[in-house]
Subunit: 283 residues, 2 copies
Amino acid sequence: MTNEAQWHYENFEPTGSSIGYRITRKLDEVQSPFQKIEIFETTDWGNLMLIDGAVMLTTRDNFLYHEMMSHPALFTHAAPKNVVIIGGGDCGTLREVLKHPGVEEAVQCDIDEQVTRMAEKWFPELCDSNGDQRAQLLFDDGIAYMANRPAGSVDLIIVDSTDPVGPAEGLFNKAFYDSCFRALREDGILVQQSESPLMLLKLIQEMRTEMGKAGFNTFKTLPFPQPCYPTGWWSCTLARKAGGFDFRQDDAQAKAFATKYYNAGIHHGALSTPAFVAQALGE
Amino acid sequence: MTNEAQWHYENFEPTGSSIGYRITRKLDEVQSPFQKIEIFETTDWGNLMLIDGAVMLTTRDNFLYHEMMSHPALFTHAAPKNVVIIGGGDCGTLREVLKHPGVEEAVQCDIDEQVTRMAEKWFPELCDSNGDQRAQLLFDDGIAYMANRPAGSVDLIIVDSTDPVGPAEGLFNKAFYDSCFRALREDGILVQQSESPLMLLKLIQEMRTEMGKAGFNTFKTLPFPQPCYPTGWWSCTLARKAGGFDFRQDDAQAKAFATKYYNAGIHHGALSTPAFVAQALGE
């Protein structure tokens, strides 16, 4: 820890590529029961959170991910009232969800309380809405939470997790998707971060296969820029029991809240699957 | 040069971030009169070209850049016949331009013949159309070429250059834009790569200012993913003497040629400027 700038590199074995940041100093570190959380100060990206050495978010670019994990799904559902976020401990997705006045309940269930405590300290802007009366912050196992959630009680489940290794591995298989399927109402939507559309299409295919085994039968993968994640290009995948992915375009255009990236046109663009993605996913 | 995988990192000082690749070996290297060109083999990205140490393209992701540098502008012009590419020595933009059957002339003017020779050798798929009767490959100074091009003889100028330092510096100022303005017909379009919309908005502003001094009066910046460039998110900026940026959506939807990324919906999305970009550019 010095005040001289150094470069921190994260090598992503599955993509054969690396992303790095120029950092000025380490601000904080905690070893939770689940993982090691580190906070660095960067020269150009604000603060940087690493979990077990993997970049989770930066002050500068997290809005892309958080907006795209929430608004496309929320503007696809006709009237989302009950929302559950699995993971999402940095509270950025929760903040976006609560921008929708129709949402009556937003449960955030992250296994690791320390992620939220670090976010409150180093990314306070993401925690703006934690005091909202509609918000409920649980620090518990998301798999168990979904297994115990009453059937047909949820409109939207957002799986805002780390990669499918370690604590998050159980969020990418049929058993978990079975619980989600049961908890969702008939017109409910499951949306999950689904890694790089350029390099990790096989993972998206596998996710869809597992979701399909649980009964979901329509899928849509929306790409979006996310500079701090491998390849700088990321995606979320939406799954439904039935019905398509046309969205409430007029409502999106007339939204009464501010976003930095999301708008109706960008949503339309994200729905326009590139040919190479469509081909890989057999669409 | 070994057969063991190593990591090659490129640090981008202006963005405080870095991108790297896992490489297996160096395939080629040439010092041209203008710059040093190196080719590496990677584990996951095909071949990689560096110019003076900066990543220019990879086999895996160059389609994003080449498609977005060409098709949005070509589908915005009502009937582009005469196209000039300044830079673009890897021939990937030329290939995309020639997919449009209405194009009658496509001049590629890159100062460094060695870039094209290396592309022919290591990225042969990008050079597929170099023998097209409509194509003309010049190895000359693009600034001089535009200064000498007859007035009102061009429909579309694509500036597919390296960053605004070194050989390409003269492609980002009023003198060059004056030549472009003069060479373009009244309904002509200038499109130029314009760096990262997340981190380099000041550069886009400066480009627009210089273009404005030359007489261009409408501008549109289209973001697109480009994993191998700083932040993984890139842009092109379109400039016109008059008129807007509505595009020939029906023609784009009915295009008779294949693209891997570009489609009409993605074009529409790229036109939907994110709020933070619009704000920074004063739109």
